[in-house]
């Protein structure tokens, strides 16, 4: 069932631009794919029990690093994306090192703090290089001079997104994924079973930061400009929201959550709501946390259970004694 679902989703994604040649939709889909990568990256880290509230840091570092390398060296963004992501992964390991001994709240705060610190560095000490608050222009993925460039861009983003998901799927299936779950559930026991928590925590940070960096670089090369706003709280919270909505710890969760919320978000925007959108998303999020803690992906299960329990409340007639 999941196989068919996946094929269906991918098929839709491939065919969509031809069904509707709408440029606005194409842009929306591109951004959605990028955020699917970002949300999945955050989810990967959360699988190891580390819920970061500052993931915008890696998103932004990937973006800035890729932009700077591309502008300084003239290498195509398609290559610098993966180099910039490596920079993000490196910083991720450094940040991970400070968080190695921390529990959930502390880790959340420290990661939040790092996003702010990196933003502050970008606008103060690093300003000569990064353009400070004004930001810098970023080379586009495909030059607008080429006809149909939006389409090419969209498909390349789609390919990268699919590749990322496959990579995450593979990681989750592998022993590394098992190790992540082990240290998430009970670090002490995992350790005594021979799994080194430090090593896997750092690995999780490196992988998650790398993918987040890819997403960030993709977004910025797509948009064409980067500013320090990319390190903002907003960008740190969105992946968290998407994943909770969709289902924490699963492969499909971030994807489902991102798609669902993007549709809701854009729909509300069309209805003309600005602030109210956030309020509605907030309410939905809280409802999901309280009533559907495993996220939207759990909905079919829950409905099934609810249906079954309904049937059981029929009173069983007592046998009449002869």
């Amino acid at each position: 069932m999941i196989r068919y679902g996946t094929i269906a989703v991918v098929a839709v994604a491939v065919v969509m631009p031809f069904v509707s040649g709408n440029l606005y939709l194409l842009n929306l889909l591109s951004l959605m794919l990028i955020f699917i990568i970002f949300a999945s990256a955050w989810n990967l880290l959360a699988c190891s029990g580390q819920g970061s509230l500052g993931h915008a840091a890696f998103f932004g570092i990937g973006a800035y690093a890729s932009t700077l390398i591309a502008t300084k060296s003239g290498i195509s963004p398609y290559i610098t994306i993966f180099v910039g992501a490596a920079v993000a992964a490196f910083i991720g390991v450094l940040i991970g090192l400070t968080c190695v001994r921390l529990k959930e709240w502390f880790l959340a705060m420290v990661t939040f703090g790092f996003a702010i610190i990196i933003q502050t560095l970008t606008v103060s000490i690093l300003a000569p290089v990064t353009g400070g608050w004004d930001g810098i222009a970023s080379p586009r993925l495909i030059s607008p001079a080429i006809p149909g460039y939006q389409l090419i861009e969209y498909y390349s983003i789609l390919v990268i997104a699919i590749a990322s998901i496959i990579a995450i799927w593979y990681i989750m299936k592998s022993r590394i994924g098992l190790a992540f779950s082990a240290i998430r559930e009970n670090e002490l026991e995992a350790h005594s079973a021979g799994i080194d928590p430090v090593r896997y925590r750092l690995l999780a940070f490196a992988m998650s930061a790398y993918l987040a960096g890819v997403a960030g670089a993709l977004e910025i090369h797509h948009i064409g400009y980067v500013t320090p706003e990319i390190y903002g709280v907003d960008l740190s919270f969105w992946p968290v929201t998407y994943v909770i909505f969709g289902g924490l710890g699963t492969l499909a969760g971030p994807i489902v959550g991102t798609i669902a919320l993007t549709i809701i978000w854009d729909g509300l925007k069309m209805a003309g709501l600005t602030f109210a959108r956030y309020v509605i998303v907030g309410v939905l999020l809280i409802l999901v946390i309280i009533f559907l803690p495993k996220g939207l992906v759990d909905l079919p299960n829950r409905l099934q259970q609810w249906w079954k329990s309904r049937k059981k409340t029929e009173p069983v007639p007592l046998p009449v004694p002869e």
Binding site: V110, G113, S124, F237, V240, Y278, I286
Partner: protein, 292 residues
């Protein structure tokens, strides 16, 4: 070399800024002590307190310092509702859930406020603005003094409540040993609601003082002070009220010192630098309290 005058000025800035953090941090400590949860949306209560204060002030012109009572009461009510509807259902379902719930609350509060009041920066003026009292070589604004006094009064009231009243003792019992408290007949759910309400009231007081001191506010200004309050209670030890007081003062001074010497842009970042340094050295906080 270093001008004593400047240092004293930073000290006074720091202490009065610290007062706001202390109130915020004490509220957090109270909630954490009794319910063992951490509410990242705590700063939003400060923000709501600020807006209530400003609005009542615009409408009636009452001395903002007196409005503190209104904002505190309003927030006890709001806090109680939030606890009942949002936190109680997820109590015990894991710490990540609390963090995520708080994110939802942040979205709601910040943007509901923006819907009602708009999202531009606003500020009000204290009736005592411009009046200063000479202390030594400094001219200390009267507002600073009043803020410090108000903070001290509130903290003393809280202390008396916790130590001398029956409810206060019940609250302390619940925070020390929840099961034991249930066994001796204390209604722990009531303690939860009460502690959350009082914690929010303290945040509201902090919000009023923020506004009164002429600082600008908008719907999004709550998050940063909240995170700093967290940093303070981590530094001072989760659940330790004296730790929060000392931590709050240190933070206020460090922040203003950093702003002066490194530039305003570092004002927020410095708090995190301190926090990260402390946590790396001592993962359970400076005066590391119970297990977490």
């Amino acid at each position: 070399m270093v001008d004593i005058g400047i240092l004293l000025q930073i000290l006074f800035w720091g202490i009065y800024a610290g007062c706001i953090y202390i109130l915020l941090a004490t509220g957090l400590n109270l909630i954490f002590g009794v319910m063992k949860i951490v509410n990242f949306a705590h700063g939003e209560f400060l923000m709501i307190g600020a807006y209530i204060t400003a609005t009542v002030f615009f409408l009636t012109g009452i001395n903002p310092y007196l409005i503190i009572l209104i904002s505190m009461l309003a927030l006890v009510a709001i806090g109680a509702v939030v606890e009942r509807l949002c936190f109680r259902p997820i109590l015990g379902t894991g710490k990540l859930n609390e963090i995520f719930l708080s994110i939802g609350l942040i979205y709601i509060f910040q943007n509901a406020t923006a819907m009602i009041w708009g999202d531009e920066w606003q500020s009000i003026k204290s009736p005592y603005e411009g009046i200063t009292i000479p202390i030594g070589s400094l001219n200390v604004p009267l507002d600073y003094i009043i803020i410090m006094v108000v903070t001290a009064v509130i903290l003393c009231a809280l202390y008396l409540f916790l130590k001398k009243t029956k409810t206060g003792r019940e609250m302390r019992a619940t925070s020390q040993n929840r099961k034991g408290a249930k066994l001796v007949g204390i209604n722990v759910e009531r303690m939860d609601v009460l502690s959350f309400g009082i914690g929010c009231a303290l945040a509201a007081a902090a919000g009023t003082l923020w506004v009164v001191s002429g600082q600008v506010f908008n719907p999004y200004m709550g998050s940063i002070p909240a995170i700093k309050a967290f940093a303070i209670i981590i530094l001072g030890g989760l659940g330790s009220i004296p730790g929060a007081i000392v931590g709050g003062l240190i933070y206020g001074i460090a922040e203003n010192g950093a702003a002066y010497y490194l530039g305003g842009v570092w004002k927020d970042a410095i708090s995190f630098v301190i926090l990260i340094v402390v946590l790396v050295l001592k993962p359970t906080g400076l005066f590391g309290e119970s297990g977490e």
